[in-house]
Symmetry: C2
Subunit: 283 residues, 2 copies
């Protein structure tokens, strides 16, 4: 069957995912990228950037929870958190669920992503007025380069794919700046695409670059992400000077907030490596 213009489709390398559309709600070209907002038939509101699905109402909870809670419960005492990208504010919301966090700075280059998220995904922005939240619209690479050495506990890189504006966020030079900005025990988490599709092209090179930049330990976490290519996604965690272990496991078991995907058992499980993946990353 052919899919007609009632579907939004993201197609790459012979694989496509499509969501049936009720209505296009918005479209604009910002100085950085093209943003589209749709109302889908069964996945709620959809944000698309440069033709790629960024998030839907229905399944963004998995991604946002897995980008924030594992790294925060792996760190011994995450007080100062920096989010690079993440303009939809969903990761920021999850980070601010942690009472230990004293400041969370979101640095997205494109203010329009946040303004559109406030309008079309208001639940993701519900913590934007938290006094601990700081929203900057600036170049994340420069922000990290200029950060005071040792001043940050956790850096979360919640970016688009490593093409276009986000390409520099996957480079050894950027990781070196992150390494310097992080304090003792400092940790980084970065979205790292699909284990099925991108292990050779993105995940393995990311591990190598993080180690080259000085990070002592690197760990891939797996989770489903239904509206991203292959439906299977990963976050890569790295620790500056220690192992990427589940340091605050007991606190995660007793977390003082609600989640839909994350819990301590899922945290432990996400680091399990499928055989092919283990051989390519650690074999």
């Amino acid at each position: 069957m052919a899919l007609d213009n009632h579907w939004f489709s993201e197609a790459d390398k012979g694989l496509a995912l499509s969501l049936r559309i009720r209505e296009k709600l918005h479209e604009e070209q910002t100085p950085f990228q093209k943003i589209e907002i749709y109302e889908t038939e069964t996945f709620g509101t959809l944000m698309v950037i440069d033709g790629f699905v960024m998030l839907t109402d229905r399944d963004n909870f998995i991604y946002h929870e897995m980008m924030s809670h594992p790294v925060l419960y792996a760190h011994a005492d995450p007080k100062n958190v920096v989010i690079i990208g993440g303009g939809d504010c969903g990761t920021l919301r999850e980070v601010l669920k942690h009472p230990e966090v004293k400041q969370a700075t979101q640095v997205d280059i494109d203010e329009r992503v946040t303004r559109l998220s406030e309008k079309y995904f208001p639940e993701l922005c519900e913590s934007n007025d938290d006094p601990r939240a700081r929203l900057l619209f600036d170049d994340g690479i420069r922000f990290v380069k200029d950060a005071e050495p040792g001043s940050v506990d956790v850096i979360i890189i919640d970016s688009t794919d490593p093409i276009g504006p986000a390409e520099g966020l996957f480079s050894t030079a950027f990781y070196r700046d992150c390494f310097r900005a992080l304090g003792p025990g400092g940790m980084l988490a970065q979205q790292s695409e699909s284990p099925l599709l991108h292990t050779d092209s993105i995940i393995r090179p990311m591990h190598d670059s993080l180690r080259t930049a000085g990070f002592l330990d690197v760990l891939a976490l797996n989770f489903p992400q239904c509206t991203y290519p292959s439906g299977w996604w990963s976050a890569t965690l790295a620790c500056k000077d220690n192992t990427v272990s589940f340091r605050r496991e007991q606190q995660a078991e007793e977390k003082p907030f609600e989640t839909l995907y994350y819990n301590a058992a899922i945290h432990r499980a996400a680091g399990a490596c499928p055989e092919f993946f283990r051989r390519k990353l650690y074999g």
Copy 2:
């Protein structure tokens, strides 16, 4: 963008997955269903039954390994295994990797699935001549009903979706027959669709039906399955008279065969329940 006729698309409930096609290799209507075989651009050979993706070369390893190894390593001593459905022979191949298995009987109602798999997915059929393999083309429901009580150690239900010919394989009456056919410690594994899409409509009712049929413990396992709807799939395990625990963990750690997805860490991880899923199934 619209996807043209160079794509095979499976669309349901506002979500579609598409694979770009090089060529249609075969199409036939059997007495039971319509089978199509395609050569895709990036996922190898594709088998479609009644419009639904059954398997591709590229990602079937995850499904077949997760349908077989967890239940076999959960059972204390799996000698006699019955596979209901599974006509592509991929699950049979995985089951026969276990030296403990003395007999594996595959009962698929449609012989044409197996004959086409022998031609188009020969690697999945490489164990069909194993002296422990028995291939029957018959009604799986009747086979289980007629099985000698207590004669089977493990039943694997590797069926199509619970509509059409496979509907009866998701019923309490069928599970009662499975319960009777299983011996002490006997276990069942069944493919149980997507946690994101089918928890309310299929997975939770399956748990209830298995318990109603007498099974003492039921556990859902999660895994990615990129070419099934949502890219996230599950297998449900049930034990007749004991817990669904990882009984032969040490043997799984030292498994005497190669896999691409399964290992002992993945086995432990697959049972971790996302919060929303845990609440709906066990909450």
